[in-house]
Symmetry: C2
Subunit: 237 residues, 2 copies
DNA sequence: CGGGCACTTGATAGTAATCAAGTCCGGTGG
DNA sequence: CCACCGGACTTGATTACTATCAAGTGCCCG
């Protein structure tokens, strides 16, 4: 169910390399070189991009859409580890050594991805060492997020964890609205639960509670309006 | 309570730069250059190396001993995020941007550390781009560990989490013994609890249970003998 | 407009946190 | 070397919370 996109020539490709932080130190000519190395793929919602444990020989950049990275335990429970959106990448662990994918990745929407093969990537890093430094920075941000998650899962109450995930989504997926911040949720209730280590019923209950308290307002199942952001921030601590 | 160590000249310093993966691509002459940039410090058990939120302008390499990196919540609970031992480093987030420390760091033993100032480090990366690639690799390993921790905290039973931490310690701090693997625990019961998000009583109970089942044997409070490693590995899944 | 699926809400049960005593280990001083 | 003391650890009883099980509701898409 994958097809190449490369019909329209350079313009489309360039976008993809341009919008990624790790290539931000390159000039247009250098970007063109990167673009020439890129393969494109498209996935529908629910399609698996890569399975946990599978070999992966490319850096994968999200060009459009979003994906979830997750692990499945033997009894079938899923733990979502990352949500990657436009400009994010994964597969960095396979670029220098022959690791298999540490998680499965599934498209949450119709998603376009760009692939750079590891041999090309290794050459790129040799030619433009700044890329490694940029990747280092992104990995540091990712470490930050994981450390926050661990702190939350280890020490915070359930309400604080739900508030934290809503604030995270507000930051990433929120748009301004006259009454506050409107979030288009990337995950359904079950997904949110799998992201913060709870059950869907518990997430549902806590969100209803936050709504009763006037802190948020649910709009259908896929949107949330944050009415009282300071209250959310307070409940995290 | 800190003192410099640099009495004996090059030999001591070289050790410190040599035993770190991130400088493994350098030759002796280059290592000497690195060594000349390094400052040394020593801490006693319980001393704080850096506080969460404090500015930190150097990469910190553990030369001897070990430290814990942790966050404290408002109600006083601690979550241990990392245990760093000989050859590990932290402070990488401050090297390229002016971040404050994402966690407090406390010496678990008498600990020698080596400091490289960020301005020196930035020059080093410019001169030897391989260093950034090596750091990238180490950060990837660290992401792996954090992802494992999140998976464990989100989906695994308490027994599985205790087993997992014992196996992790066996890997890092274990020595062969006629009856199995002998672990010198880097943390007391409370520390283990703070590392995997439980209370000390629960850790205590589960370790007693593992002992009753003949899987481990506690030797005093600071050592554990793993008698049946396959059973531990099985209980993780 | 209708059907299916996701979500909500309620009742119950199980598990780990908390509260509370003891016990043991390890270090110190005699 | 032994006895003692304090802190860490263990164990037990109770409480609180969330998972689970179950039923109903409502959203969303065809």
């Amino acid at each position: 169910m994958q097809k190449n996109l490369c019909d329209c020539g350079i313009c489309e490709h360039k976008l993809c390399a341009e919008r990624v932080t790790i290539f931000s130190s390159l000039d247009n000519q250098e970007l063109s070189k990167v673009v020439s190395l890129i393969m494109h793929r498209e996935y529908h919602k629910g399609e698996i991009v890569v399975f946990e444990g599978e070999a992966l020989d490319s850096l994968v950049i999200i060009n459009e859409g979003q994906v979830k990275a997750f692990r499945t335990t033997q009894d079938g429970r899923e733990q979502i580890l990352h949500i990657f959106s436009e400009g994010d990448f994964f597969g960095e662990r396979n670029l220098l050594r022959d690791h298999t994918s540490p998680y499965s990745v599934e498209a949450l929407d119709r998603t376009h991805i760009c692939l750079i093969h590891k041999r090309d990537f290794q050459q790129l890093v040799r030619d433009y060492p700044d890329i490694a430094v940029k990747i280092m920075e992104v990995l540091c941000e990712r470490l930050d997020r994981l450390e926050n998650t661990i702190e939350a899962m280890g020490t915070r109450t359930v309400e604080a964890r739900v508030s934290a995930v809503l604030l995270e989504f507000a930051e990433k997926y929120g748009t301004d609205h006259c009454k506050g911040t409107l979030i288009s949720l990337p995950l359904n209730r079950e997904g949110i639960a799998q992201y913060i280590g709870l059950t869907r019923e518990t997430v549902s209950r806590k969100m209803s509670q936050l709504q009763d308290e006037g802190i948020i307002q649910m709009i259908g199942n896929k949107k949330v309006l944050v009415l009282d952001r300071p209250a959310l921030e307070k409940s995290i601590q």
